[in-house]
């Protein structure tokens, strides 16, 4: 059923359909940034193909005065630049929407309740740019001007957003400025204002716009990363590349040129994690970043790190699998494989960032945890968080030093009679380690993935194997006291709870408001880490029904919860979303409502 879109202010979506590689990114960023600078919250989602140039790409800007950042259905404004997809793009627009069409793009018959603006983009750009190749790029700036004019976006903010991006390239700036102006003037002269308006507010002051991968890179930077090795894979490459940029700028001595870090682009993900383990064993703060297929390759080494107890930070920016799957779409389907990654009895500590701020904080925290626990620590992000643009409060400078865990240096060794690498002296499951090169005859020990005892000596003794495995399991219990706790919003009188994690957060937040408007009150637990902390259990106990929202087919988080709390399994219901698109609020609302109605009947 199609609902008629009504005229709104600061509450709509702009959908721009272009060709990949046509340079539309600068144009879309300009639009988004200009609205943001008008004090109105925005979010930007890039739906792009696995391709460098030629295939269709879509960018959606959600304008939301109330600050909702999730993907939303109902495209109010379409900019159809791509002739390959225009028929479908136009066909998907509902009653009341406005369509800005590049003159000449194929179009189906458009019902009268849509407003159509046919714009001669090529003609408008022609007098401005002589070079035909350049014209293809600059033409995008004309739609920026047209959209700004139609929606009432302040031309000064558009110019500011453009200058912020191109300020260092005066020639490009001038050309793009002229294109924007041509668009704005055309709109003013020929088009009547659209029913969707942007009006100045004061809701973005002091806030930042950032992608999750960039936030994660900043976290690693301030967490004191000293070693990164990685293999390029979408959607994780921008984390590594962003970090490399920051490291080059802030961690290389301006006088000597010496770097306090090493970055190695490995030959594959097996080598990437191997280098991380070698560096970390030697005392570096070492990390890698990857996505599903890379994670599969790292599997053997991860088990090694778990059993030999070597710290490592692994970011998994999830994309859609299995196999190559949809490499440029988002998912939360790596969860179970990450938690239990590798053969044998393994279970890992996993951090679950939901926001760009989490990416920043966990970028630091993951190192502290890995070194404290002497174990691989995963950060399970996804393409939606990692590669889309999010509004956030600015990040706060860490107020604590780092935690480098239990490392014995030569001084410490000189005070002990013996050193045993895997002895649980503190009864928290965590032994002490030494670093290669430590200037003391007791420091050396032998690290191996084969059976070993407390002295790190080879053994196949059944008792010793079991004892060591039990001790490593104990470490996992210690991890519960160290990982970030969930964020709980307990609503008095609510019978039902919603439990979510990662990028699902944004759809859930909005869905809860929509459900509340319908009279359905919900509590909410936003999970931040695995293993679960005590709050998770009490949250489930406090609610008759807990809807576990996740972006995978097989209800993986619900399965983990059932494993941990079998007695509470009957309370859990799954809300699943796994088409590769970011979770939207309506999907949650519809599924909760449907189940609750069935209950009521």
């Amino acid at each position: 059923m199609e609902t008629l879109l009504t005229a709104t202010t600061n509450d709509f979506c702009i959908h721009v359909a272009t060709v990949n590689g046509s340079g539309s990114q600068t144009a879309n960023t300009t639009l988004m940034r200009a609205i943001f600078q008008m004090g109105v919250p925005v979010s930007g989602k890039n739906l792009f193909p696995s391709n460098i140039a030629g295939l269709p790409t879509w960018f959606t800007i959600r304008v939301s005065e109330r600050g909702y950042l999730a993907r939303a259905g109902g495209n109010h404004v379409l900019v159809a630049m791509n002739p390959e997809t225009s028929v479908a793009d136009i066909g998907a627009m509902g009653p009341g929407s406005i369509l800005i069409l590049n003159e000449g793009v194929p179009s189906p018959a458009i019902p009268a309740d849509r407003t159509v603006y046919k714009i001669p983009f090529s003609k408008l750009v022609e007098p401005l740019v002589a070079d035909a190749k350049l014209r293809k790029l600059v033409v995008n700036m004309v739609y920026v001007g047209v959209v700004a004019g139609l929606l009432g976006i302040d031309p000064q903010e558009v110019d500011g957003a453009l200058t912020a991006q191109l300020g260092k390239k005066p020639k490009a700036l001038d050309m793009n400025r002229a294109a924007v102006k041509a668009g704005e003037e055309y709109a003013a002269q020929h088009l009547k204002p659209a029913p969707f308006r942007v009006e100045r507010r004061n809701k973005t002051a002091g806030k930042i716009l950032i992608e999750g991968n960039q936030a994660a890179a900043l976290g690693a930077l301030f967490g004191g990363v000293t070693f990164l090795s990685w293999y390029p894979i979408t959607p994780s490459s921008s984390l590594a590349e962003s970090l490399m940029g920051y490291l080059e700028r802030y961690r290389r001595d301006p006088k000597t040129g010496e770097a306090t870090y090493a970055v190695i682009q490995a030959e594959d993900e097996i080598a990437a994690i191997g280098m991380v383990l070698g560096a970390s064993w030697t005392g570096a703060r070492a990390m890698t970043t990857t996505s599903g297929p890379g994670l599969s390759l790292m599997t053997e080494f991860i088990g090694f790190a778990y059993y030999a107890e070597i710290p490592a930070v692994i970011w998994d920016i999830q994309r859609v699998g299995p196999s190559t799957g949809l490499p440029t779409r988002t998912s939360q389907a790596d969860l179970l494989s990450v938690v239990f990654l590798s053969h044998g009895d393994t279970k890992h500590v996993v951090l679950l960032p939901a926001t760009v701020e989490d990416c920043f904080t966990f970028g630091m925290k993951a190192f502290d945890l890995a070194e404290r626990l002497q174990a691989p620590v995963f950060v399970l992000s996804d393409l939606d968080i990692g590669m889309n643009t999010w509004m956030s409060e600015p990040f706060t400078y860490p107020d604590k030093p780092w935690d480098r865990g239990k490392v014995l240096d030569a001084d410490a060794l000189s005070k002990v009679a013996t050193f045993e690498r895997y002895r649980d002296l503190d009864k928290d499951g965590i032994p002490y380690r030494t670093l290669p090169g430590t200037d003391h005859p007791l420091a050396g020990y032998f690290t191996r993935g084969s059976g070993h005892d407390e002295k790190a000596h080879y053994t196949e003794s059944p008792e010793t194997y079991k004892r060591v495995m039990d001790r490593i399991a104990k470490k996992y219990q210690t991890a519960r006291t160290l990982v970030p706790p969930p964020v709980v919003d307990r609503v008095v009188g609510a019978d039902i709870g919603i439990l979510g994690f990662g990028s699902s957060h944004w759809g859930i937040v909005e869905a809860r408001d929509l459900l509340a408007a319908e009279g359905l009150r919900t509590s909410y637990l936003l999970l931040k880490a695995i293993p679960f902390t005590a709050e998770v259990k009490s949250f489930i106990e406090q609610h008759d029904r807990v809807y576990v929202v996740e972006q995978n087919r097989d209800a993986q988080m619900a399965a983990l919860l059932r494993m941990e709390y079998p007695e509470l399994g009957a309370r859990l219901r799954s809300i699943l979303h796994y088409d590769g698109l970011p979770l939207d609020a309506q999907s949650v609302v519809d599924q909760v409502r449907e189940r609750e109605e069935v209950m009521a009947r």
Binding site: T29, R33, Q37, A164, I208, L209, L218, F222, V225, T226, F227, S229, Y246, Y250, D253, E258, A259, T260, Y261, A262, A266, E267, D268, A271, I273, G274, M275, V276, L277, G278, A279, S280, W281, T282, G283, A284, R285, E300, F301, F304, P394, Y397, P398, P401, W402, T434, L435, P436, G437, T438, D439, H440, P441, G444, Y445, F446, T447, R448, G449, Y458
Partner: protein, 348 residues
């Protein structure tokens, strides 16, 4: 003047016992144990500080051997074929360590070929020993990728596939130190190992090491008998560490001298032909001809002491990464403020 003092101590006051390890669990007579002996002797004579050494290996019989030498060093027995990546991380994280890697033919030429090649390509400072017996010992006698054409397994099966020559591959990739030797020839192997330990870059030493249990029979090209009969040494090798200054008694024209990065010198006394180890093409040609004539050419095949080691390319600080204080690796608050301001206005 002499490497070994009369009281049985080396230049840093340690005895040979300080370089030993646990008792070997390999088959009696295994070539690998003989290599272990040469490693112990070479490390002792070189006066390595055991705690400054990281010994690394993959999986296989050969990869077990780091437990049998230098028990005071840090050891890392990695997963199969992946020691090079571990070594790369270790080397970069602490440039002050001496890295001693032991691998086998399966570990290097089959499962680990990719990592081996990339290690060489990066020129990570490390002595990389391939204990090469042409057979999988630990899994009981399967062919490895270095088995020669026509070589028979104990089961009687004949290998028809071309062997992978790790020395030729290493030279092709510009490795700055490539040698081949024989486990039963400690006189040749020891100076090679000592010289390799002085090389600042990847040093590949392929050591033919007969497997007494699965590959020491008639029909095996890597049996003791066969190697002894077909070993064709290129030269006699003398290694003079930088801290020694002994006169060489070779007459010019009969010997060739190579100075390594740390000032050590290798002297090669020619045997039959005049061999120039700085000529990569010649080295490849020599390996190739040797194979055609069924000979194992041993000796220092190729050396280029001036190739830049990996850490130089990274522009790394001298200090170990582990030793960097928080102040050196966490930028000040002003930096975060600056980045945040950029993200508020969109000017990155």
């Amino acid at each position: 003047m002499t490497p070994v003092e009369t009281d049985g101590k080396n230049r840093i006051g340690l005895t040979i016992a300080d370089y030993k390890g646990a008792k070997s669990t390999l088959c009696p007579g295994c070539g690998h144990d003989a290599i272990t002996g040469s490693i112990i002797q070479a490390a002792f004579e070189a006066g390595l500080l055991p705690h400054r050494v990281a010994k690394l290996s993959g999986i296989g019989c050969s990869s077990k051997t780091p437990a049998y030498f230098l028990s005071r060093s840090h050891g890392f027995n990695a997963v199969h074929g992946r020691m090079p990546s571990i070594a790369t991380g270790v080397s970069v994280a602490n440039r002050g360590l001496t890295l001693l890697g032991v691998s086998g033919d399966g570990d290097t030429a089959s499962i680990g070929l990719g990592q081996f090649l990339h290690l060489v390509r990066r020129n990570v400072p490390l002595l990389y020993i391939v204990e090469n017996n042409g057979v999988y010992g630990l899994t009981k006698g399967q062919f490895s990728a270095t088995a020669d054409v026509g070589s028979t397994a104990k089961s009687g099966r004949v290998n028809e596939l071309m062997p992978i020559d790790v020395c030729a591959l290493a030279i092709e990739l510009g490795c700055g130190f490539v040698a081949r030797s024989f486990s039963g020839d400690p006189k040749q192997l020891r100076p090679i190992l000592k010289a390799a330990l002085s090389h600042r870059g990847t040093a590949v030493v392929d050591v033919i090491s007969p497997c007494v249990t699965f590959n020491n029979h008639e029909g095996s090209t890597k049996s003791y008998l066969n190697v002894k009969e077909h070993d064709a040494p290129l030269h006699d090798i003398t290694f003079i560490p930088r801290y020694e200054n002994i006169e060489v008694d070779y007459a010019p024209g009969e010997s060739r001298e190579v100075t390594l990065h740390d000032g050590s010198r290798i002297t090669l006394k020619k045997l039959g032909e005049d061999y120039d180890p700085s000529d990569a093409l010649r080295a490849l040609e020599t390996i190739h001809h040797g194979r055609q004539e069924d000979r194992f050419v041993t000796g220092l095949l190729y050396v280029d002491p001036d190739k830049e080691p990996f850490e130089r390319e990274l522009g790394l600080v001298e200090d170990p990464l582990a030793a960097l204080t928080l102040e050196r690796v966490r930028p000040p608050k002003e930096v975060l403020d600056e980045v945040m301001r950029g993200l508020m206005t969109g000017s990155a």
